[in-house]
């Protein structure tokens, strides 16, 4: 079996949030979505550490955004999931699904 990149649980959550937000994915919005949908209270530092790791793996791209008054005049940084990122996520989800087939959780899912 070739060497593959595997995603951690929090990396999956962040990638899912990026998919959901599409072109509007920046720090504050990502934290909001994770809090609302995944019910996880994430620190901004942990989020950026994960996004940096995903960027280094080539699963996420970054672009500079505009500054707004609500941010105290500071610029945003937008993140977008790459094609490779989506493939990785699909692969991880498939692995998880396969593992759960035949288990009580798999039956419910």
């Amino acid at each position: 079996m070739g060497k593959q990149k595997f995603l951690g649980e929090f990396e999956m959550i962040v990638l899912a949030a990026l998919l959901r937000l599409d072109d509007d994915a920046y720090g504050s919005r990502i934290i909001d979505v994770i809090a609302e949908q995944a019910e996880r209270n994430v620190s901004i530092g942990a989020l950026y550490a994960t996004l940096k790791r995903l960027e280094q793996k080539g699963l996420v791209t970054v672009r500079q955004g505009e500054a707004t008054a609500v941010r105290g005049g500071r610029a945003k940084r937008y993140f977008k999931i790459t094609g490779e990122g989506q493939r990785q996520m699909q692969r991880s989800l498939n692995s998880l699904r396969n593992l759960l087939v035949g288990t009580p959780i798999g039956a419910v899912g």
Binding site: Y26, G27, S28, I31, D32, S43, I44, G45, A46, Y48, A49, K52, T61, V62, R63, Q64, A67, T68, A69, V70, R71, G72, R74, A75, K76, R77, Y78
Partner: protein
């Protein structure tokens, strides 16, 4: 006063900016500011977020920086935490809540402090943090080269601790601690000045 005019605590912003470094400073502070205003969070919330993020942001900065910057960043972050603690203790002197007494009993600012171990924790922990950040910054070779300066720094830091350790019951050395705290502030400012230039390794894909 409108929501947009609300300002987060300045010291918390300063410490976050320090930990985030030039690469992430604006982005992180912008995100925190937006959350603070949009959700009408309290100043305590901002403090909590800042303290939760300092470790992560320092780590990120270390991953991007060169070996000497790595040591400077670790030093600055640890000094920030030490200064923050001292600041909180000073605030605690004016508070009447029950924990204030406990905090003061552990404080080098207190004339009645009796716990030498607390001094050891206060001054040795930051140095341990510097060593850990240097070692974990992804540049293990640098540890060998930093061994001597770190050892020297450690010895200097241990002087007041040893002084107190071997003179139980006397607290005439409080002046020494004040001097030591002043030295910490000078070192912190020096580190901040050194950290101001952006890392050349920073890459950003513009749209």
């Amino acid at each position: 006063m409108s929501e947009l005019d609300r300002q987060p605590p300045r010291l918390a912003m300063f410490l976050t900016a320090l930990a985030a470094g030039p690469m992430l400073r604006d982005v992180v502070l912008g995100d925190l500011h937006e959350q603070f205003v949009a959700h009408q969070h309290s100043r305590g919330w901002f403090w909590w977020q800042a303290l939760r993020s300092i470790g992560w942001l320092t780590w990120l900065q270390c991953c991007e920086a060169g070996r000497w910057r790595c040591a400077q960043i670790g030093l600055t972050a640890s000094l920030s935490l030490a200064l923050l603690w001292l600041w909180e203790l000073r605030v605690a002197q004016t508070w009447s809540w029950p924990m204030a007494k406990t905090l003061l009993a552990w404080s080098p600012l207190s004339a009645t402090a009796t716990c030498q171990t607390c001094y050891a924790i206060l001054y040795v922990m930051p140095l341990a943090f510097v060593a850990a950040m240097t070692a974990l910054g992804g540049r293990l070779r640098s540890v060998r080269r930093l061994r001597l300066p770190l050892a020297l720094l450690g010895m200097v830091a241990l002087v007041p601790v040893v002084f107190y350790w071997f003179s139980p019951g006397t607290h005439d050395g409080n002046k020494l601690f004040r001097l030591w705290q002043a030295a910490l502030v000078v070192m912190a400012v020096f580190s901040v000045v050194l950290m101001r230039s952006p890392s050349p390794r920073h890459r950003l894909v513009d749209a």
